[in-house]
Symmetry: C2
Subunit: 334 residues, 2 copies
Amino acid sequence: MSLTISREIRLVSRPTGIPSADNFALASTTLEPLEDQQVLVRNLYMSVDPYMRGRMNDRKSYVPPFELGKALDGAAVGEVVESRATGFKPGDAVSSTRGWREYFISSPKGLYPVSRDNQPLSVYLGALGMTGMTAWAGLNLVEVKQGDVIYISGAAGAVGNVAGQLGKFRGCRVIGSAGSTEKVKFLEECGFDAAFNYKSGPVLEQLQAAAPDGIDVYFDNVGGESLEAALSALRVHGRIIACGSISGYNDEKPGPGPTNLHNMITKRLTMKGLIVSDWLGQRAEFEKEVGGYFKTGRLINKETVVSGIEHAVEAFIGLFRGENVGKMVVKLGS
Amino acid sequence: MSLTISREIRLVSRPTGIPSADNFALASTTLEPLEDQQVLVRNLYMSVDPYMRGRMNDRKSYVPPFELGKALDGAAVGEVVESRATGFKPGDAVSSTRGWREYFISSPKGLYPVSRDNQPLSVYLGALGMTGMTAWAGLNLVEVKQGDVIYISGAAGAVGNVAGQLGKFRGCRVIGSAGSTEKVKFLEECGFDAAFNYKSGPVLEQLQAAAPDGIDVYFDNVGGESLEAALSALRVHGRIIACGSISGYNDEKPGPGPTNLHNMITKRLTMKGLIVSDWLGQRAEFEKEVGGYFKTGRLINKETVVSGIEHAVEAFIGLFRGENVGKMVVKLGS
């Protein structure tokens, strides 16, 4: 019986501002032999997501902070190498929250079986995973319907591009903003009705040009200037999905909110905060609907893939430099 | 047949910052004799409300701006002096949107009959009028229910004190903030479970002392520091009624929003904007419920009364100096 050596990424110091490589360390650990009712999993892909930045601060939030000196965690998809648990056999594909490492041992309840029919398996980190489900939940949260004009910021990101595609399937007019010409082109490929580069000019001006009669829904992944522009562009009884505010995740001191929040009153807007974990009870419904779009080739699952756990930190930091088009994933399997 | 002379308040220049007396003029106008299907009304009470400040700016909003050189308008309650319309006879009490003047001529559709059983008739500007209905609509908007801990800013104002009393009737724990010792005492008389003077120390500290386990609902009449404190104190899935932001109504340049709006996401909060005109279709339901509380003496309709149209401007400006406890009304009838 051979012992398994697993490399993992640990948090060694808490970042101030944008994280840097020296906040992290690549370390090796030796896994114990399996006990009864345990499963050994080799990760094939791991997720890096902007929300992880919040967990690097020593601050209570909706998930506990990462502990210093320990491996990070997050969504991953892998395959069973060895099993002493009923219901799991070598070769089975599973998703888990045990990313940032090459191998891990789990009890069955920490594993969620996924089908190999959907390829690449990294789709379970993107369109069919947490970020895709976030997009789907957001549209349901504010009851997006046919005819709505919806504006999505961070639209080329993992959540944003799926939200836009799902919006199109629902019969909406979809407008997206992103941070490069390449990303704007990608949004057009995804079927967005209009897309603009927020770095090319004031967001409000570009949004008004794309939606002269205003918008009904704003899917916020960015906060800051995008939120302020949306508050101005929203029509009476408009809705805001407060999903993310990546523009502020690395602020050492929180910046001020929008100066035009008063529009919430005058236009009787609704803003709802979204954390996907509230929606896990509806996972089957999500998988049926969005899985169907993916299987038939209607939904594009765009990825930016970085290979090797030794590059996972760069991939994570790259999220805040806008280096991903679609879902940023790290490929761990050979 | 004698002609009627009516005094009225006109807007003569648009205020910058806090309005001053010279933005307004008291003028007299002579009313024409009644035509068929017209009614002559003498106002007994008129309303001054903070939202009117917004209409003094030359800016499109949910109601059109006041026009320079013309009489202001707003809620009023009066009695019919002469009628050439079926359904209206001298002595009938009516509410209207034709305040800021002593007399006016109206078609029947601009008049809303009210009962003289409720006294003083100024209650139709307060608890049984627009501000009371705003309070009632706010609680319904976010489905305030038994057991909720609700924090109300501007709680001694016309909307706030009724919201607090209705919250108590629904079985909530109610906390209010106001700007003087006298007002805090009034809130205690209204049955609030806790009340504090926001001028006595940081709002967040005082709110946390009153609600150590956090709040479920925030009824915002103030904005600014109160909103920021509430965003911190709200529990997961908490709700915000965005009803007013009097702290900013006189800003020459809109101030920044709260620095902790990110709590909308992490705590999955819901914020909904409220304008009472959206609720006019439910007026009968409101009158039945809140009218019932008033008739039985359970609901206190607290007023600050200023007499004479020549003092209406002072009463209005006084709203921004916190001079009202309860509803500020101007008595016009002798």
